[in-house]
Symmetry: C2
Subunit: 338 residues, 2 copies
């Protein structure tokens, strides 16, 4: 069957109408798409920023839609279901990671943009084991970002084992950061947001931050010493990481989900000096965590602050993201596909 | 009462006979010492390497001896007991760390060399809550190093949650490293030793390493990618840490107990690229872990490879450590104190 999409044919080019052939395997579903997100990562894939984009590229790693057809082995998903899809396309289901429900570390996995065509399309065919039913309460464009950004921060936060009442920090308050603030707040943590954009303050307090600290202020950070149980950085900026490590309590962890452009550098004694601190990284999350997050988001009314644009405005949207004009989450309404 | 010891009176001076006054508090025991260790850390304290030595300094943070007197509130320790003492002297017993058995993170703690006189002495008065009964099987100079070096690696290894059958690495094979190899081996792990001193190979294989890899060989490390569940570094050298992080499997941790002289530096994507890796640090261990380690060492015949010298040779011992002539563990026999 033929799928209509928008694609970048060669690195650096704009998006153009594109059609590709595919078929529905025994484990696959065909989904007619309603929404997809456009994030900084998608735009970076378009310019081959990480060097592993496969062209032609159909961008977008987060999408919502409705199941139209299903293969013979598909379980738990029915035709007509409202579903969400994220970054991971497949895994081997046999390795040491797949067998313990950590499919995101499978060495044979495929992911969108590197291994297949994404969500800026009229339809998509996807392995049903990486397709998730969306609760009625979340079936709106503000929740599309849960599928990859949300999953990434949720899995990372779980690794940090935050408990109710803990003091935690979120560095960088874009798409990932504003979801992290909400999740940590709803877990009962006291959340400090660290940002260099101080005019976002009132919005951040509204979604669950208790305070906002200038992420680049050496003096402000000095006052944070030994205070935080957990800090998650969603920023791609190269900050004074030694100060953030010093801000951790003796058993605290600094978790990177955003990747700073320069190397992370610090004296090892900050990890060990009267402390047992950790620096961690995280990569998306497992299907099990995706289902947990959807339930958690439903129970706690977590959703992104999204701006929604019709697909006809896609080139302007990409330009705005490139120029850092986008705010928290950007979603494309695919319902008027031509 | 008067305690006879050897002390450095001013930074950079040699050890001289020294006497100080003390008294036995209600929680204290008076211990007549049999052995103490001399490690690189002790020699660094003598030259005020970290800037926090209090002079006069009586060095040594690990010692064995026999209890001679006890205060009225001392529980679980009797006169005549053979005991061991490590780096931590006291804690508040009331803070969030003390209350959960993590006394090593107490903000009010005192430690030897910074907060009190150490084990290079005829006797010592010590808070009984940081004094540990030594099983008969471990009452020999080879086990003195368990009290601080052993505890440090044991606590760090436990944080890494190694399981039987896991592939683990030990970087640096001095006093800490040769204890880490034994502990990990007895936990059922497959241990690779990383060292730049390749003539130690046969000794390392004897104490439990399966293989020895040159810690400075870029080519050898390239072959280690994605292989290790846990790597503990006891080295103070500044190695190519990015290669060690790359050697970790997706959920693996690199643990620093030795502190490299230069800053640790690496690209954050090594923590997050198809993985959830961690870089951790650790600081001594808790009294509970000390008791666990003594039981584990007894059950599994773990002891240091120690060279034992009479106290009369102390100045030569210090000179040898300064010149890197010492091997794994160096112990002073205090029985012929004059």
């Amino acid at each position: 069957m033929k799928i209509q999409a928008l694609a970048v044919l060669k690195s650096g080019e704009g998006l153009k109408p594109f059609e590709y052939d595919t078929e529905i395997g025994v484990n696959d579903v065909l989904v007619t798409l309603k929404y997809c997100s456009m994030a900084r990562g998608d735009v970076r894939f378009m310019s081959n920023f990480w060097g592993d984009t496969n062209f032609p590229l159909v961008p977008s790693s987060e999408m919502f839609g409705v199941v139209e057809q299903k293969g013979s082995d598909v379980k738990d998903i029915e035709i007509g279901d409202y579903v969400g899809i994220g970054y991971q396309m497949s895994s081997c289901h046999e390795c040491e990671y797949c067998l313990v429900g950590k499919e995101q570390f499978c060495h044979s996995q495929k992911v969108l943009a590197v291994g297949g065509f994404g969500g800026l399309a009229k339809q998509i065919v996807f392995d049903s084991r990486f397709v998730f039913k969306i609760p009625t309460e979340l079936q709106n464009p503000n929740c599309v970002s849960l599928m990859c950004s949300g999953l990434t921060v949720y899995s990372a936060i779980k690794r940090g084992s935050p408990q109710s009442g803990m003091k935690v920090g979120v560095v960088g308050v874009g798409n990932l950061g504003h979801l992290a603030i909400q999740i940590l707040n709803k877990m009962g943590c006291k959340v400090t947001a660290f940002s260099h954009i101080l005019d976002k303050q009132s919005e951040l307090l509204k979604i669950g931050a208790e305070e906002v600290i200038d992420s680049t202020s050496t003096d402000a950070l000095k006052n944070c010493k030994n205070q935080f149980d957990f800090i998650i950085s969603t920023s791609s900026k190269s900050l004074e990481w030694s100060q953030y490590i010093s801000a951790l309590k003796p058993l605290g962890n600094l978790m990177f989900v955003g990747l700073p452009e320069k190397e992370v550098s610090f004296p090892a004694e900050l990890l060990a000096d009267y402390a047992q601190r950790g620096i961690l990284g995280s990569y998306i999350g497992s299907p099990t965590e995706m289902r947990e997050l959807l339930e958690f988001a439903k129970q706690n009314s977590i959703s992104a602050v999204a701006n929604v644009y019709p697909v006809s405005e896609i080139n302007q949207v990409v330009a705005d993201i490139n120029e850092n004009k986008s705010n928290f989450s950007t979603v494309i309404d695919l319902s008027n596909w031509k």
